[in-house]
């Protein structure tokens, strides 16, 4: 946490509304985008944004700065977002884990992806495949993939944000990547069943 942020938090704790305003404005876009990635729904992401900052304002007096404010906000926002998904789908972690207990692509031929793949991201079918694959990815894996691979947090930061062990982060990340990679491979027809 940088000195400017520490100072803003200190002032906000003392009731300085402009400091609080600045802290919220600084962090709100990232909180919103994270919630949007997890929920894939703008209106729900906005709910998460508001709930996250309501919790922040309630708890700022006891915020000790043991983790950075960004990490703290990630933890709150992802928990609120996950809670929303669970409430909606009533899905539990055991069910979610089973979803990824597939045996991806064994008995298939593995081929290199097209060389121009990097340029293909604007292709509608690629975009749709990736977006759908991310939606299909159960939330406990999706959140790890989003924080670690899309937003570039370290394993340690991701582990703190989600309150899970670093090794759990690695396992979930590995399975998320396998899932997404295999979805893409099918889309690109880069696998072929061996007869």
């Amino acid at each position: 946490m940088n000195l400017e942020e520490k100072s803003l938090i200190k002032k906000a704790k003392l009731g300085d509304e402009s400091a609080l305003n600045l802290l919220i404005k600084n962090h709100a876009p990232v909180v919103f985008n994270t919630a949007l990635r997890i929920l894939q729904n703008e209106s729900e992401a906005e709910d998460v944004l508001q709930e996250t900052f309501i919790i922040f304002i309630k708890k700022i007096g006891s915020f000790e700065g043991r983790s950075s404010l960004a990490t703290w906000l990630y933890r709150v926002a992802t928990n609120v977002a996950i809670g929303k998904i669970r409430a909606k789908k009533k899905e539990g972690s055991i069910v979610e884990l089973d979803v990824l207990n597939h045996e991806p692509l064994t008995g298939h031929e593995l081929r290199s992806w097209p060389e121009e793949i990097e340029k293909m991201w604007k292709d509608e079918s690629i975009q749709s495949c990736l977006t759908e694959a991310l939606k299909e990815l159960p939330v406990i894996f999706r959140t790890v993939f989003i924080l670690r691979d899309l937003e570039g947090h370290s394993v340690e930061e991701t582990s703190k944000s989600l309150d899970i062990s670093p090794s759990n982060v690695k396992v979930r990340l590995m399975r998320a990547r396998l899932f997404l990679r295999d979805k893409m491979a099918h889309n690109l027809h880069c696998v072929e069943a061996i007869s």
């Binding site: 509304e17 609080l20 305003n21 919220i24 404005k25 709100a28 876009p29 919103f32 985008n33 949007l36 990635r37 703008e42 992401a45 906005e46 944004l49 508001q50 900052f53 309501i54 304002i57 045996e103 991806p104 692509l105 064994t106 008995g107 298939h108 031929e109 593995l110 081929r111 290199s112 992806w113 793949i117 990097e118 293909m120 991201w121 690629i126 975009q127 990736l130 977006t131 991310l134 691979d149 899309l150 370290s154 394993v155 690695k170 990340l173 590995m174 990547r177 396998l178 997404l180 990679r181 893409m184 491979a185 880069c190 696998v191 061996i194």
Partner: protein, 81 residues
């Protein structure tokens, strides 16, 4: 060329993902690099995982945050703009 990664070589799959992560030890990097020399499937696999992550970063870059959202947020929190 059979796709062997998941079924036959769980340890290699785990190593590969360590390899793709941060803080990889030199010993690990060297083991994976050695393995890739003898194993075109793993080479293709690692490359495709990297490409998936890159593509996902390009495709999934939500930028829907707006001044309207900020306005509604501050209003809901009773904070002056």
């Amino acid at each position: 060329m059979k796709y062997h990664l998941h079924k036959k070589s769980d340890r290699i799959v785990k190593l590969v993902h360590e390899y793709l992560g941060e803080n990889s030890h030199e010993e690990l990097l060297s083991e994976v690099a050695d393995h890739m020399t003898d194993c075109p499937e793993c080479y293709i696999y690692i490359d495709s995982v990297k490409q998936t992550i890159q593509l996902m970063r390009k495709v999934d870059s939500p930028n829907a945050y707006s001044k309207d959202i900020e306005h509604r947020l501050l209003k809901s929190l009773n904070i002056r703009k």
